[in-house]
């Protein structure tokens, strides 16, 4: 416990707590219930408050900041609609285990339950989509609650925490003391894996003929990329990554098989199907990875390392679970391996698969395609940029064609699949990362879902490259309509109703360019990369009816992968 006989107001305590937590950036939007906090904020100098244009933007920005830096993202909004607007971002953070703390204003305690002006039961609403949430009912609990909120959000399997602050609590006073330690009876995350289990895993990996590392976002969150690289390199193990795992292991490394699952590489999915030992590291056997569970890696001995015990045996029953922090476990696993496995033949087989069905796309007709745009961005930035994608076809093509070389470089909405994520998340990331380019990639549909945040990027002079992949369609939905829904392109054609994106950019005061010519792609990327004191917008008008392949249809077995176009008559 630290000092304090002097009484402080709730607002003073709030900012004092943020200071102690090392918060340097908060994303927010003022309103009636948080006026006291904003009054105090006027004189606060240790942090920067970023004014967004919609509260959803604030939560995604906090996610972008947290994903890019590993620190906790912080949001401050008012009660009622301010709070409910954060819900999608909170759900997104919950699905992708992003540490954010969302402070919501609340009507005064005596009005709670009265259907007061701008009242919403945000604690009730967010209960199933938060790691935990709090309603602060007593000023004496404010400091401890904030301490707990940051602790819960950032430890164990990270996640969002909501703290609801009634107006009268913020206005009242008490003595301030900040607890040094947090003790929550029911919450003691377990970081160290069980020794015997690790030893057993090491033995099994040593004797494996066809081992495979299946790497998820947990490796990045735990900061275990170095341990992963050492372990994989030392034992010459093939590495495949989930969407959230991309960057955990360098995409350019020859041991990387790229992404697995629905739009994964042919050879990664073949490796999953044929491996004899599958080591899942910080991944959760999501349905987009496994396809039909009955046929997923049926012959493999499955080892599952995860910090969250609920992930184990949830979707796939495994043979050897290890509950613990993947960074710690990887280091111990590496130390326990007595002999490196003999994987020469296994690699020959994998390389055969690679040759059998390499990643390729149609490019002979001189028309612009997303795959080409992404490849060029990857080449121009040498895999060093922070890429923030939205959701849909461009997201999958980015996962396939951008060579991520570092962790925390691929910021994307994976679990919830939130369109509108990219623009605000890129804004958040650019407050955390100053020494690498931030590139936001959206489709023409998703770009319009949080388009208002463009002005936030302009106002703070953020050097973000906003890239719109415009195929005038909700492309991924269109792809499913073509493949599985009788080519009924129901409400996915935006060609007649899209705005002029260059004019939109210009209206926000952003230098904006557009092309549909592959020959101009390099020039535009160079142009964008040369602007470093303000945002820039590039629109790439790509062919309309392009599809993401390979593809494992939803619910199908990985071996039923569609590697080529089903309908040969349609050549674009």
């Amino acid at each position: 416990m630290s000092n304090g006989t002097k009484k402080l107001s709730g607002a003073d305590i709030f900012f004092e707590c943020l200071k102690r937590e090392g918060v340097d950036t908060i994303f927010g939007y003022p309103g009636g219930a948080v006026l006291k906090l904003y009054e105090k904020l006027y004189d606060v100098d240790f942090l920067e408050h970023i004014l967004v244009r919609h509260e959803q933007g604030a939560t995604h920005a906090a996610e972008g900041y947290a994903k890019a830096t590993g620190k906790v993202g912080v949001v401050l909004v008012t009660s009622g609609p301010g709070a409910t607007n954060t819900v999608t971002g909170i759900a997104d953070a919950y699905m992708d285990s992003v540490p954010i703390v969302v402070f919501t204003g609340q009507v005064p305690s005596h009005l709670i339950g009265n259907d007061a002006f701008q009242e919403a039961d945000i604690v009730g609403i967010t209960r199933p989509i938060t790691k935990h949430n709090f309603l602060v009912r007593d000023i004496n609990e404010l400091a401890t609650t904030i301490r707990k909120a940051f602790y819960i959000a950032s430890t164990g399997r990270p996640g969002p925490v909501v703290v609801d602050l009634p107006k009268d609590v913020i206005a009242s006073e008490c003595e301030f003391s900040y607890p040094d330690d947090v003790d929550i009876k029911g919450y003691k995350p377990k970081y160290k894996g069980h020794y015997n289990q690790i030893k057993k895993a090491a033995e099994i990996i040593s004797n494996a003929k066809r081992p495979l590392l299946y790497v998820g976002g947990g490796v990045i969150m735990s900061g275990g990329s170095r341990e992963l690289a050492l372990f994989a390199k030392e034992n010459n193990l093939p590495v495949t990554m989930t969407l959230q795992g991309l960057g955990a292991f360098p995409g350019t490394d020859e041991q990387s098989l790229g992404m697995l699952g629905m739009h994964g590489t042919y050879w990664a999915n073949q490796a999953v199907n044929n491996c004899d030992v599958l080591v899942s590291l910080g991944a959760r056997f999501d349905d987009r990875v496994t396809g039909k569970v009955d046929t997923f890696a049926v012959n493999a001995f499955k080892i599952h390392v995860d910090i969250d015990p609920t992930c184990i045996d949830k979707n796939i029953v495994v043979d050897l679970p290890i509950v613990g922090d993947v960074k710690h476990v990887l280091a111990e696993l590496a130390a326990e391996i007595q002999k490196t496995p003999d994987v020469k033949e296994w690699w020959n087989q994998i390389n055969e698969w690679k040759e059998e069905c390499p990643m390729a796309y149609e490019d002979a007709d001189g028309k612009l395609r997303t795959e080409y745009v992404i490849e060029q961005i990857s080449k121009k930035t040498k895999g060093e940029a922070v890429i923030v994608t939205d959701v849909g076809q461009h997201q999958m093509w980015t996962a396939q064609y951008y060579q991520f070389n570092h962790p925390r470089s691929n910021l994307t909405s994976g679990g919830l699949g939130t369109m509108g994520f990219s623009v605000p998340a890129a804004i958040g990331a650019s407050f955390g990362i100053k020494d690498r380019p931030i590139i936001s990639i959206s489709g023409d549909g998703g770009f319009q879902m949080n388009i208002q945040e463009l002005i936030t990027a302009v106002a703070y002079k953020l050097p973000i490259k906003f890239i719109i992949i415009n195929n005038s369609f909700l492309g991924m939905v269109r792809q499913w309509q073509e493949l599985f829904h009788a080519e009924k392109y129901s409400f996915t054609d935006l060609s007649a109703s899209n705005p002029d994106f260059v004019k939109v950019g210009q209206a926000f005061g952003i230098e904006s360019y557009s092309t549909d010519d592959p020959k101009e792609v390099d020039t535009l990327i160079d142009k964008a990369m040369s602007i470093n004191d303000r945002p820039v917008l590039l629109e790439f008008k790509v062919v309309k009816e392009n599809m993401v392949f390979p593809m494992v249809p939803s619910g199908a077995s990985i071996s039923d992968m569609i590697v080529k176009r089903l309908n040969p008559k349609r050549m674009m």
Binding site: G124, R127, I152, K190, H194, P309, T310, D313
Partner: protein, 170 residues
Amino acid sequence: MKHTISVLVENRFGAFDRVATMFSGKGFNIKSISIGETEFSDVSRMTIVTDGDEQILNQVVKQLNRLIDTIKVIDLSHTNHIQRELALIKVGLQKTTMEEIKNITDIFRGKIVDINNKSMMIEVTGPPEKIDAAVNVLMPFGIKEMARSGTVALNRGEQLNQKNEFVQTN
């Protein structure tokens, strides 16, 4: 298969809601649920009866443990334990049936706790199966209203709730 799970939670605003929300959100079934105080004023005990196979039960236990307000989860199905439930059953009354209902109440060691010209209220306690049996036997007399407390349960012998330990999967 039916399972009885005892959950110690922080005696705090919203703790019950979190458990209920988790069950509905994950699609787990609740057959009965009861909640009340324990020997510690800051801890409540919930007794949940649920059904599902071993994998589902494992998930239920882990998901319960994952809630921050959960202090301890004990799957009583694998321990020697006592289960009790209380039921208040209001049965239709005619002059001719009164004696018979009284006899049935005695057989189930129940009590008649209220009576008027048209009905009689019977209190029965015991394992849930006993309550089921009493309900079945009383059914023909016309059950007008019924309230069941849901199961409460406690393991026999030494207490399990002192130590704050977590269910390990390995």
